[in-house]
């Protein structure tokens, strides 16, 4: 295939199926889909191809005027990288693109965007390991938990309310489930405020629950969006069904086990975004 490589970016809150989709896409002929800048080969992580933007996530959130420079500096040579990799379709999926979507759109107006969403209750449940080291420290950890060097590093770049936010003052005393409810709502706010600037033909919504329940048709629609030719390799479905990174223990309990106060806190913080994304508030009487 000749001409400019097809570029795409993916964004979501984390813990919303990004790694499975990234793995499946990378099995496609001529496609390389990174995950947070890194190549992966199924369960096996590969090398960084693009720099991780863990800290830049927070920098761009605190000062949106930095986003264009961050994208130019660290994502400014996507086409050249695709050529080096020998692929015609090249993308990267990362939660930390949320504060940079306007800058990405300005730099790559022809790029396509995958938007991942997942029910906020499930995100909060799965966002942080309650005990033990967290291999995928997406969310804020429980108060007082001892963190590894990597967990501390990732937490530096994790979004927290700006000083002007009404929650900023209370933030240090908020329980971790409330912090993760805010993280889910604010990350989605950034994404959904930004995606109107992307033409509908260039963006594709992947709703976690429907996507994985609707396989293989949902994956076929994704392939159509990216204009991938032919049939998917046989291994893609098993890649999508492999629950890579899924923690089977150590999570916070399911919302059905939350206290009325926790349900109320979630509804107050994340309720408006739950409604905006079409998710139902549960166990909430107010």
């Amino acid at each position: 295939m000749t001409g400019r490589p097809q570029l795409f970016f993916g964004v979501g809150t984390g813990r919303c199926g990004t790694m499975a989709v990234s793995n499946a896409l990378s099995l496609e002929q001529g496609v390389v889909c990174l995950h947070e800048g890194k190549r992966r080969f199924g369960e096996r992580p590969g090398p960084h191809v693009l720099r991780s933007l863990t800290l830049e996530n927070r920098i761009a959130y605190e000062d949106p005027s930095c986003a264009a420079e961050i994208v130019a500096r660290h994502r400014g040579a996507m086409s050249a990288t695709a050529t080096t990799l020998g692929c015609w379709c090249f993308g990267d999926i990362a939660y930390n693109y949320a504060p940079m979507l306007d800058a990405i759109r300005a730099r790559y107006p022809y790029a396509r965007l995958l938007v991942f969403v997942r029910d906020g209750y499930d995100f909060v449940r799965a966002a942080a390991a309650v005990s033990g080291q967290d291999a995928a420290p997406v969310g804020w950890a429980p108060e007082g938990k001892s963190l590894s060097a990597i967990e501390q590093y990732v937490s530096l770049g994790r979004l927290a309310p700006r000083s002007s936010d009404k929650l900023a003052h209370a933030w240090p005393t908020l329980p971790f489930m409330a912090r993760n409810a805010w993280l889910w709502a604010e990350t989605n706010r950034l994404i959904f405020d930004a995606i109107d600037a992307w033409p509908e033909a260039q963006r594709h919504l992947i709703r976690f629950e429907e996507f994985f329940a609707g396989l293989p048709n949902s994956y076929a629609r994704l392939r159509g969006f990216l204009a991938l030719p032919g049939q998917p390799p046989a291994a893609t479905l098993s890649a999508l069904r492999a629950r890579i990174n899924a923690r089977l223990s150590g999570n916070m309990q399911d919302w059905r086990h939350w206290s009325p106060e926790q349900l109320e806190t979630f509804a107050q913080i994340a309720g408006p975004m739950m409604r905006r994304l079409g998710y139902e508030l549960r166990g909430h009487t107010g």
Partner: protein, 84 residues
């Protein structure tokens, strides 16, 4: 580096202790986490903690975001009155 000689030396010693002597010897004012071997996500937080201890300062999470380059560290130390 372009801090004072004493500041440069203290910073180099921190890099030698936390990362490696090779990393410390290779430092210039333009060095960043992208080009200093071993200055990665694992050593990053240890460097911040060492800087806090060495210069008796507190580094906030937002300030820490700037410490991905030697120039960023020197700038912060100057702002906190540690440049002497």
């Amino acid at each position: 580096m372009t801090g004072s000689i004493a500041l440069d030396q203290r910073l180099r010693e921190l890099f030698a202790r936390i990362i490696s002597r090779e990393a410390a010897d290779s430092l210039t004012v333009d060095s960043t986490t992208d080009d200093v071997a071993g200055w990665d996500s694992t050593s990053f937080v240890a460097m911040i903690l060492a800087i806090e201890q060495e210069f008796d300062i507190e580094v906030s999470a937002l300030e820490a975001l700037r410490l991905q380059s030697v120039s960023g560290i020197l700038e912060m130390l100057r702002e906190k009155g540690c440049a002497g």
